[in-house]
């Protein structure tokens, strides 16, 4: 594989050699200011940064910090409503803002490549992979079809596709998110750009795939001497791969410098806030020993039916292969695993959303079948917080109505008591009086997730299932919501099944951790044991994808990376 690629490295490294003698920055952004409309809000305010040839620079900030706009301006992609008010962008000595449309088009793709966040939508779903990859190559390189095909096959092999020939004749939907992001990367790197803009390239992927794609990106760009401008909200990931970091907050650069310096000695309060928002481990708690677990899952098997046609039925897919699990009263059990591990299915079957094929779920010692004596007790006491706060709240109901809805089914509760409870819970989750009359769309993502949590705890349930409750949120908001969740859990003592792919979050909240892979539990144990001495190879692999944190003085942190013992190669 590496041999096949070495022929290309020749030309790539020559370019690098030529430019590395040149001390001039490849990309020089100075005083960039963007506004919405001529006199509107300033969204990017006097931003300066440079990218030198071959270097990896990270821009870190939360949504609304202007990081994406600043990076897109480099390519001349600014939304029509946004106006350039001041500053210059020089790429390779040329002023991007003064370029003609023709020059801009020539620069895009061939000199500056871009990888987008959403691999599901950034490839054209109705075009064959081969044709999509060929598009840019045919446009920017004078090569005949056979030579282009050879280059494409080489590149697809390089990004780790097992069957490049077959991939050329496939459509994007036939690949997983991680594979699509590799294909996207291949299509960009085919043209060997001098600069790669990567806008949250791995945010939509789970931790292990995220690491694989990042390593691949770093490897590929290094071979070609391509500089990378990595835009992300994930400080840990940026620190791992970038030599320099630019921290942006509300359109301004608040701090920039070497990665180690930023982490160890953050100067600006916002950087410190970002660092403290990174999940950290709290001391383990002692839980009272109880006789009956609140939820007990016994040999649970769940099959998803295959596609049903009029005449044929394809074979069902088994999502859970006999899971057994206990949750003690007051305990927070985290279920971790990559996508497709069955962790969400487990949560949904405990919540009663998915039918099991065999096995049993006991709630407080009683089976939860409709019609049984314990069923209603379970229905009232088991609640769920969903992943996406944008889809889990009915857009036509006010916050007050949403939070009050679960109380409808509580037997014998007066309406005055209900109103009081709603107000109480809303203030518990940090949403004051003004919120009850508002609609979900008027709220930010974090506020919506607070509403979802309020709705789950309003009945004072004894068991809450939280399915990736913070993975759709920004870092600092995530920290606040986690804190709130922790607070509520301690106050009301409900047990919790916390489902997540993000080990960092799990480390902060869990008492016990269950690791799942392909519908089976591969490892289970107290949090500290799992994090400090993982036994199973998959657990080790998961752990190696997230940073460990050690705080230093001065409000900074040092990151360390756990290595799996026999780590699979980056191309898995």
């Amino acid at each position: 594989m590496i041999q096949a690629f070495s022929s290309e490295v020749g030309t790539g490294s020559r370019e690098e050699n030529a430019s590395s003698k040149n001390p001039q920055p490849l990309l020089d952004v100075a005083g960039l200011t963007l506004r919405i409309g001529e006199a509107g809000r300033t969204v990017v305010d006097d931003v300066d940064f440079q990218v030198f040839p071959g270097e990896i620079v990270g821009i870190v900030g939360e949504s609304g910090s202007g990081k994406t706009l600043a990076a897109r301006a480099v390519m001349g992609f600014i939304p029509p409503a946004v106006r350039l008010v001041g500053g210059t962008i020089r790429f390779d000595g040329q002023d991007v803002m003064a370029m003609s449309g023709k020059d801009l088009r020539a620069m895009r793709g061939s000199k500056v490549g871009m990888v987008f966040q959403e691999p599901m939508t950034s490839l054209n779903p109705s075009m064959l992979i081969g044709r999509q990859l060929d598009e840019g190559l045919a446009l920017h390189r004078k090569l005949d079809a056979a030579a282009r095909r050879a280059l494409i096959l080489d590149m697809l092999r390089r990004v780790g596709l097992k069957d490049p020939e077959g991939a050329l004749e496939s459509y994007p939907h036939q690949f997983s998110g991680g594979m699509r992001q590799r294909i996207m990367l291949a299509s960009v790197m085919l043209l060997r750009p001098a600069l790669l803009l990567a806008d949250e390239p791995t945010t939509a992927l789970d931790a292990v795939v995220q690491r694989d794609v990042m390593e691949l990106m770093v490897g590929l760009t290094q071979e070609n001497g391509t500089a990378v401008l990595l835009i992300s909200h994930d400080l840990g990931m940026v620190a791992r791969y970038c030599s320099r970091i630019v921290v942006m907050c509300q359109g301004e650069v608040v701090e920039q410098g070497k990665s180690e310096d930023i982490l160890a000695r953050p100067q600006h309060a916002y950087t410190r806030k970002l660092l403290s928002a990174m999940p950290h481990r709290l001391p383990a708690r002692e839980l009272p020993q109880a006789k009956t677990p609140i939820v007990s899952v016994r040999d649970l098997v769940v099959d998803y039916p295959g596609r049903q046609g009029f005449f044929r039925k394809s074979t069902p897919k088994r999502a859970l292969h006999g899971i057994s699990l206990d949750v003690q009263p007051g305990e927070v059990v985290a279920v971790v695993g990559g996508s497709g591990s069955g962790k969400t299915t487990l949560g949904q079957s405990i919540a009663g959303l998915v039918k099991s094929s065999s096995g049993a779920i006991l709630f407080d010692g009683k089976p939860i079948t409709k019609g049984e004596a314990g069923y209603w007790d379970y229905r009232l006491n088991c609640q769920m917080v969903f992943q996406d706060p944008y889809s889990s709240l009915d857009p036509r109901m006010t916050i007050g109505e949403l939070v009050a809805e679960p109380l409808r089914l509580v037997p014998g509760m007066e309406s005055a008591a209900k109103a009081a409870r709603v107000a109480e819970v809303l203030s518990e989750v940090g949403l004051g009086d003004g919120f009850a009359g508002r609609f979900p769309h008027e709220l930010s993502g974090g506020q919506r997730q607070r509403v979802a949590i309020a709705r789950a705890v309003v009945r004072r349930p004894s068991f809450v299932i939280a399915d990736e409750p913070v993975s759709a949120l920004d870092v600092t908001v995530r920290a606040q919501v986690l804190e709130l969740f922790d607070e509520l859990q301690k106050k009301h003592g409900f047990s919790c099944l916390f489902i997540s792919h993000d080990l960092g979050v799990v480390e902060q909240v869990a008492d016990r951790v269950v690791v799942m892979q392909d519908g089976r539990i591969v490892e289970e144990g107290p949090r500290d044991a799992i994090f400090d001495a993982p036994q199973h190879a998959y657990t080790q692999k998961l752990l190696s994808a997230v940073p460990g944190l050690e705080s230093t003085g001065e409000g900074g942190v040092r990151l360390f990376w756990r290595r799996a013992e026999n780590d699979a190669s980056i191309v898995s």
């Binding site: 009029f310 919540a351 609640q383 769920m384 857009p395 006010t398 089914l409 919120f435």
Partner: protein, 290 residues
């Protein structure tokens, strides 16, 4: 930090919303439809002339001071006939759309929410009906129920039901994958309650759009049926049969076609504007956006 900025706008925003004038499309649309409804309700009572009175001396008179909109081939006053016809046309369209929306929503909800075999059988039947052009289906049904006012309503209503069912089913299918439906089930709500509380209200936006555009189709379909001789039987005036009847005289008396056509167009415009305004009003996401 984002919570602070949104919190401060909460109380004052609501008051401002109440004082604001309705959107321009609501004013224009409401004005047009209000006039139409007023004329439809009372028009037959104060027509300048008797709408059915023949007067062969005055046939095909161009618009003048006596006959503002001219007269037709039998010397009947066009303005009077338009005013009298408004009631019939509007009544037919309103009832037809209501019938189609009610039937279609019911079928679509059941089909989309239950899925499985129920869905397949209902939709196979539905698609078979969709395969016929609406007007053809209505013609067939009219042959069975007889060409009178209520026959037309029934026939057109059934003919337009499948497209409503399709739209509702599609919306329901996408809605039921949303997490708030799962949340409602986790709460312990029954399926029927979930459907009524969470699914149906979220179908209103596409339904409003569909119903307003359907209103226009029905007005035209009624005139097409009249044209084929299956509409409301003459001499009773409807906009449709006035338009249809104007065809042979288009060369000599252009006003015969223009004025009923103008009435239909203005009604459609009004309905569409009002429909847009209504959809925005009913959708909390659009409130205060203007």
């Amino acid at each position: 930090m984002s919570s602070d900025s949104t919190m401060s706008t909460g109380g004052s925003g609501k008051k401002a919303r109440r004082l604001k004038l309705p959107a321009p499309n609501a004013i224009i649309g409401g004005g047009l439809i209000g006039t139409l409804l007023a004329v439809a309700a009372t028009g037959a009572l104060w027509t300048p002339y008797e709408p059915l009175k023949l007067s062969f001396r005055e046939k095909l008179v161009a618009p003048n001071a006596a006959h503002w909109l001219g007269t037709d081939e039998f010397g009947r006053d066009v303005l009077s006939r338009l005013m009298a016809g408004a009631a019939t046309s509007v009544w037919i369209s309103l009832l037809t759309v209501t019938l189609a929306v009610l039937l279609g929503t019911l079928i679509g909800l059941i089909s989309g929410y239950t899925r499985g075999w129920t869905d397949r059988i209902i939709m196979a039947f539905n698609d078979a009906l969709l395969a016929f052009p609406g007007i053809l289906l209505a013609l067939g049904l009219l042959a069975v129920v007889g060409a009178n006012k209520y026959g037309i309503i029934l026939a057109l209503g059934i003919a337009y039901t499948p497209s409503v069912a399709r739209v509702v089913r599609g919306t329901v299918l996408s809605l039921r994958e949303r997490e708030f439906i799962a949340a409602s089930r986790v709460m312990g709500n029954s399926e029927a309650f979930t459907m009524a509380r969470h699914v149906l209200p979220n179908c209103i936006a596409p339904l409003t759009v569909l119903a307003t555009s359907m209103f226009g189709y029905v007005l035209l379909a009624e005139s097409a049926l009249s044209f084929l001789g299956l509409g409301v039987p003459p001499p009773a005036p409807t906009w449709g049969n006035m338009l249809a009847g104007s065809r042979p005289y288009i060369g000599q008396a252009v006003w015969l076609g223009i004025f009923p056509g103008l009435c239909i167009s203005l009604t459609l415009l009004g309905i569409n504007l009002l429909g847009d305004a209504l959809r925005d009003k009913l959708d909390p996401r659009m409130r205060g956006a203007r």
